[in-house]
C-alpha cells in the first residue's frame, strides 16, 4: 500500500524575465509503506522543490499529493502544517538545527507541533544515534557528523510515516556519510517508516535497492537555477 502517491503534480515559478517555468511536473510517483527509495537528482533538477511539495512546505499549482490517504494539495496551510508535524520527518542537507537549543531540545521540538513532546522518547532517540552524552550540547558544540545525527533523531521524533532526506550526507566525508546513511535506513526500517532520499552521490545511491532518476520522473524543464 502506498503511503505516498503523487499524481500530475505541477509547480512553476515566474522567472526574472517574467516567463512562467515549470520546475516540477511529475505525472506519477509513489512510495510504499516502509519502502526506501533513492532519487538521483543533479543540482537544479528540482529535487528540493519536489520534497518541499511533498512536505507541504510549498503549495502545488496542480495535481495531487496523497499522504497516508490524505490529499495535501487540497488542504489549507495550517492543515498541511499539522500533517507535516504528525506524519513527515525531514532531514535537510544543512541539517537546519536550531542553534540556540540543545540537541535534546531540537529533538523535542521535532515532535512538539505534532502529537506533543515526549522527553523520554527524545532521549531514547539520541541514545540510539549515539548522542546520549551530548544531549545538552548546543549544535555549535557538536561535530558535523554529530549534528547530522541530531537531525536524523529529530526527523524521526514525531513517529513519521515518511522521512524525506535531501542530500543528508552532502556535508559529510565518505566514511561518515555511509555511517549516517546506514543509521537513517536502519532506524526507518525499525520504525517501518518510508524513506525518500535524494542525492546526486552515486556511491550513496548504490546502497539502495530502489533508485530512480528524478529526470525520468520530473518532466519539467529543469536546471532553472
Amino acid at each position: 500500500m502506498a503511503i505516498l502517491e503523487v499524481k500530475n503534480l505541477v509547480k512553476s515559478y515566474v522567472s526574472q524575465n517574467g516567463q512562467t517555468q515549470n520546475v516540477v511536473d511529475v505525472p506519477h510517483f509513489s512510495l510504499g509503506s516502509g519502502e526506501q527509495i533513492a532519487l538521483q537528482g543533479e543540482s537544479g533538477s528540482g529535487k528540493t522543490t519536489f520534497l518541499n511539495l511533498i512536505a507541504g512546505i510549498l503549495q502545488a499549482d496542480s495535481g495531487e499529493i496523497i499522504i497516508d490517504g490524505e490529499d495535501i494539495s487540497t488542504l489549507s496551510e495550517p492543515k498541511r502544517d499539522s500533517l507535516r508535524a504528525k506524519k513527515i520527518g525531514y532531514v535537510f542537507q544543512t541539517f537546519n538545527l536550531l542553534q540556540g537549543f540543545s540537541a535534546l531540545e531540537n529533538v523535542i521540538l521535532g515532535m512538539a507541533f505534532g502529537n506533543g513532546a515526549d522527553r523520554k522518547y527524545a532521549e531514547n532517540l539520541l541514545e540510539k544515534v549515539g548522542l546520549a552524552n551530548r544531549k545538552d550540547y548546543k549544535p555549535r558544540q557538536l561535530s558535523v557528523g554529530q549534528q547530522q545525527r541530531v537531525a536524523v533523531a529529530r526527523a524521526l521524533a514525531n513517529h513519521p510515516k515518511i522521512v524525506l532526506a535531501d542530500e543528508p550526507t552532502g556535508n559529510l566525508d565518505h566514511r561518515r556519510a555511509f555511517e549516517s546513511l546506514e543509521l537513517i535506513r536502519e532506524i526507518c526500517l525499525e520504525n517501518e517508516t518510508a524513506l525518500l532520499l535524494v542525492s546526486h552521490d552515486k556511491e550513496i545511491l548504490s546502497k539502495f535497492e530502489k533508485v530512480k532518476n528524478l529526470a525520468n520522473i520530473n518532466q519539467a524543464v529543469t536546471f532553472y537555477e
Binding site: I57, P78, S82, R84, T94, L98, L109, F113, R154
Partner: protein
C-alpha cells in the same frame, strides 16, 4: 505551551542584552506611571481628605487657601493677624467645640515656631483619639515659662533635645542675622505623628507676645511687652484660631456669618475643600505629568517593538525551521507576542522597584517640606490596572514584529534550493 515557552526562553536568552535593556525601559516607564498616579492620588488625599484634627481655621481677611496652608501645613506666609478678642469671642460660640489660638512669625533653623495655648496638648486630637505625646523624660510646656516642645522631625533635623536652650529667629524664613535674644528651653520632644506638626516648634503664645523685638498692634497702636508687666488683652493678636466644630452645620453657619456677612476675618471651611482648590489650580501640572508618563509608556512600547523587530531578520531561519517542523504561522506569531508580553511582564515587575524608589524619594521630600507622610506601601487598585496596561501595551507592541515573523517564507529561508 511548554514548547512556546521553551522557544521564547531561548530567544530571550540569545538576545539577553537587548532583552534586559528593553525590560529596564519598561520598568522605568511603568514605575514612572505608577509613581505619577500614586503621588497625585496620595498627595490629594493627604492634603484634602486627611484628618488634620481641625474643622476650620479663623484668620485675617484674605485667602482661605493661604490660611490653611499657613496654619495646618505650616507653609506659606500668614494672612495677617486678628485681634485676640475674636479668639475669645469664637471660643465662647456654642457651635465651637474647641478653639486654639496660633501666633506665628518666628522660626528656628527654618522650622516654624507656633505660639499657642496648652490646649494643643491637652485637648487637641491630631487624629481621632490621638493626642500629642512627649517622648520619655519630656513634658509639655508651662504657658508661663520660656519653654518649647518640638516635633520629632525638628528634633531629628536640628539635633535639639530635652534640656537644650535655643534662640528663635524672627520671620518665617531662616535668616541667621535675625536671631532673637530670648532663650527657650526644650522641655519635650513629641512622638512622631506623621503629620505637619512634626515640623513645628511649639511655645506658649505669651512667649510670642513677649519676644524681644515683637510689637503688638491689637489696638492699632504699637505696644511692646515689658518684663513683669501683664499684657493688656486689647493689644494681643493671634495669627489664626484653629477650630473644632460641633457639627457640619455649625461650620456652614459660621462661614455664612464670618465670610459673607462679616468683614474682619476669614473662615477657612471645610479645610479639605479649601485644599482641593489648590489641586484645581495646579491641575494643569498634573495633566502635564500624566502626559509625560503616557509618552514614556509609548516610548517603552516602541523600544519593545524596535528590539524584537530588529531581531526578526536574523531569526527568519529559526522561524522557517520551526515551520518546517510543523509549527503553524499562528504559532510563530504567538511566540513573538508571548516574547513581548513576557518582556513587558518582567519589566513591569521591575517597575515596582522603580516605583518604590521614586515614591521613597518623593515621600521623603514631601515629608521634609510639608510634614505630610505618603504611605509608599499603600495598595491601590490603580497599581494593578497600570501593570495590566503596561503588559497589554507590551503585547500590542509585539504585533508588528509578530506579523513580520508570521510572513516568513519557509522554503526561501531554509536551505538553498537545488
Amino acid at each position: 505551551m511548554n514548547e512556546l515557552l521553551l522557544i521564547v526562553r531561548r530567544s530571550l536568552r540569545q538576545h539577553a542584552l537587548s532583552t534586559i535593556v528593553t525590560m529596564l525601559g519598561i520598568a522605568l516607564a511603568s514605575g514612572l506611571v505608577m509613581s505619577v498616579f500614586m503621588i497625585q492620588k496620595q498627595s490629594f488625599q493627604a492634603f484634602t481628605g486627611g484628618d488634620v484634627g481641625f474643622d476650620a481655621v479663623l484668620g485675617a481677611r484674605g485667602s482661605q487657601l493661604q490660611l490653611v496652608l499657613n496654619t495646618i501645613f505650616h507653609l506659606e506666609t500668614s494672612n495677617g493677624n486678628i485681634p485676640y478678642s475674636l479668639y475669645e469671642e469664637i471660643a465662647k460660640n456654642p457651635q465651637v467645640e474647641l478653639a486654639i489660638p496660633y501666633a506665628v512669625g518666628d522660626n528656628y533653623q527654618g522650622f516654624r515656631i507656633v505660639g499657642t495655648s496648652d490646649d494643643i496638648f491637652t485637648k487637641f486630637e491630631y487624629r481621632k483619639g490621638q493626642k500629642f505625646q512627649v517622648e520619655d523624660s519630656g513634658k509639655f510646656f508651662n504657658p508661663k515659662e520660656k519653654e518649647a516642645v518640638i516635633g520629632k522631625f525638628v528634633a531629628q533635623r536640628t539635633g535639639l533635645k530635652v534640656g537644650d536652650i535655643f534662640q528663635p529667629y524672627h520671620g518665617l524664613i531662616f535668616d541667621e542675622d535675625k536671631k532673637h535674644d530670648d532663650d527657650y528651653k526644650v522641655v519635650g520632644v513629641l512622638q512622631t505623628t506623621n503629620s505637619p506638626s512634626d515640623r513645628v516648634v511649639w511655645i506658649p503664645i505669651e512667649g510670642i507676645y513677649r519676644m524681644k523685638g515683637h510689637i503688638l498692634r491689637g489696638t492699632g497702636e504699637n505696644y511692646k511687652a515689658q518684663e513683669g508687666e501683664e499684657i493688656p488683652q486689647e493689644v494681643k493678636e493671634v495669627s489664626a484660631v484653629m477650630l473644632k466644630l460641633k457639627s457640619l452645620q455649625a461650620g456652614m453657619s459660621l462661614e455664612q456669618t464670618i465670610n459673607k456677612q462679616g468683614k474682619v476675618a476669614t473662615l477657612a471651611f471645610p479645610i479639605g475643600r479649601t485644599m482641593a482648590e489648590l489641586f484645581d489650580k495646579i491641575g494643569w501640572l498634573n495633566r502635564v505629568l500624566e502626559l509625560v508618563a503616557y509618552l514614556v509608556v509609548v516610548v517603552a512600547a516602541f523600544s519593545i517593538l524596535a528590539s524584537i523587530y530588529n531581531s526578526i531578520n536574523e531569526r527568519r531561519r529559526e522561524f522557517a525551521i520551526l515551520r518546517a517542523l510543523g509549527a503553524k504561522r499562528i504559532t510563530v506569531f504567538s511566540v513573538i507576542i508571548l516574547e513581548s508580553t513576557i518582556i513587558a511582564f518582567f519589566g513591569t515587575l521591575l517597575g515596582f522597584i522603580v516605583y518604590f524608589i521614586i515614591l521613597l524619594f518623593t515621600a521623603s521630600i514631601v515629608q521634609a517640606e510639608t510634614g505630610v507622610v505618603l504611605d509608599i506601601f499603600k495598595f491601590d487598585s490603580m497599581l494593578i490596572y497600570t501593570s495590566l496596561l503596561m503588559i497589554s501595551v507590551g503585547a500590542l507592541a509585539g504585533v508588528i514584529p509578530a506579523f513580520k515573523a508570521y510572513q516568513t517564507d519557509v522554503s526561501e529561508n531554509l536551505t538553498p534550493v537545488s
